[in-house]
């Protein structure tokens, strides 16, 4: 009984600490803009209408804003992810019909922890457990491409509409591309040794208490924010530069809506390139700021994150050349289609 009481007390303490930190976060976050104005014009005494002071104020405001958003979201998602192990995701997907499976797989791709170095063991673990090939591929498309880092960075830098469009586009591509490949019945183009492996047992889910889950959230923050803060700062510096100086339609002639070939071209350039979501942000910032069309830029970003030469080499271990080519072809076509669609309707 005593133990139970102590647990309750420490849980209460934990909740109070969490609420306190969240309040502090909110107070700081909502005061970032006045602070940046105060710093640039009050402390440094810069005149408000000059290019340099606008650029500096933009940088002083945006950098902590985006980093704070990233920290909060990565922490929360880190805790959510501790409930979604690959083993559990596999159990959810087992025995689902194909169309339902494609939708679920794309959605689970957002929350299941994923590292591109695990793509092959995950692929084998899924297909040997009887999950259809197309459903497995829906997961493998969505997991690296649609994730909290890409979404929070897009939200922080370009607003919720751009983030929502990216989410919608990414999920659609993952669902449809996986479903299409499923219809093509290409199971025999999986390397023969894969099915000979027999189903991977997977690990038992660890029983984690709330402290352990919070620790996982903190680990995620240290790991991810520690890795991407530099790209974020470069991205914002690029944005600040554009904000202050560069004429906004420099890119419009060849990456604007008028140039029909810009979408396929940016996908063709983006596919072999490899970068994570954070690394591509400075480029996205520069392209958008200079007047490139949103659909074109998001298509480029997705092509870079979802498909790459290293990924092709990794997946070649389990996919025969024809299936690998179909996989890349279908996903690239999907990215082009949504790129066009958004240039058309926006």
């Amino acid at each position: 009984m005593n133990n139970q009481h102590e647990e309750d007390v420490s849980l209460l303490f934990l909740i109070m600490k969490g609420v306190g930190l969240l309040l502090l976060w909110g107070v700081v976050y909502w005061n970032l803009e006045p602070f940046s104005v105060w710093l640039t014009s009050g402390v440094l005494g810069l005149p408000p209408d000059q290019h340099f002071s606008t650029a500096l104020q933009f940088f002083v405001y945006e950098t902590p804003k985006v980093l704070m958003l990233l920290t909060l979201i990565v922490f929360v998602v880190g805790i959510i992810r501790s409930f979604f192990t690959p083993e559990r995701t596999r159990r959810i997907l087992m025995g689902k019909r194909e169309s339902v499976g494609n939708v679920l797989a794309a959605l689970l791709g957002i929350v299941t922890p994923f590292c591109s170095c695990s793509a092959v063991p995950l692929f084998i673990g899924f297909v040997t457990a009887g999950i259809p090939l197309g459903v497995t591929l829906s997961f493998l498309i969505s997991a690296p491409m649609v994730n909290e880092i890409a979404l929070v960075l897009l939200f922080g830098m370009f607003g919720w509409k751009v983030a929502a469009i990216y989410l919608g586009m990414g999920l659609t591509i993952a669902m449809v591309a996986g479903w299409v490949i499923g219809r093509l019945k290409m199971d025999r183009h999986v390397e023969d040794w894969v099915y000979a492996t027999g189903p991977a047992a997977g690990l038992e889910d660890e029983k984690l208490d709330i402290t352990a889950r919070i620790q996982l959230g903190r680990d995620a923050v240290r790991d991810i924010v520690g890795k991407v803060w530099l790209y974020v700062m470069i991205g914002i510096a690029v944005g600040a530069g554009i904000h202050g100086y560069v004429p906004t339609n420099a890119m419009a002639s060849f990456m604007g809506k008028g140039a029909w070939w810009s979408v396929p071209l940016s996908v063709v350039i983006g596919v072999p390139m490899y970068s994570n979501a954070a690394g591509i942000i400075p480029i996205v910032q520069a392209l958008l700021g200079k007047g490139a069309a949103l659909g074109t830029v998001l298509a480029f970003m997705m092509a870079v994150i979802a498909l790459s030469l290293p990924e092709a080499i990794i997946l070649r271990k389990v996919l025969k050349p024809r299936l690998l080519a179909v996989f890349f072809g279908v996903v690239a076509m999907g990215i082009m289609a949504v790129g066009y669609l958004f240039n058309f309707i926006m």
Partner: protein
């Protein structure tokens, strides 16, 4: 004599786990062989779906995580 295996296809995380394992073995002063398993066919025999993974005497202790030297000590 413990037999430790690190499963992973050679990504940066696997190398970190290898280094951390060596560190904790040294710190504990136990006798152990540390072996890298890099062939995907061999990795799959352990039934893991995420790498890097830590295997001690044939039992998978952890998968998909870069454990700190402190964490690894608990498994040795």
């Amino acid at each position: 004599m413990k037999k430790i295996q690190i499963l992973g296809t050679g990504c940066a995380k696997c190398k970190t786990l290898m280094a951390n394992t060596e560190e904790s073995v040294k710190a504990l002063g136990i006798e152990a062989t540390i072996e890298k398993v890099e062939k995907i066919q061999d990795i799959m025999k352990f039934g893991v779906m995420t790498t890097p993974a830590l295997v001690v005497d044939g039992v998978v202790k952890s998968a998909g995580k870069v454990l700190s030297p402190e964490d690894i000590k608990k498994f040795l």
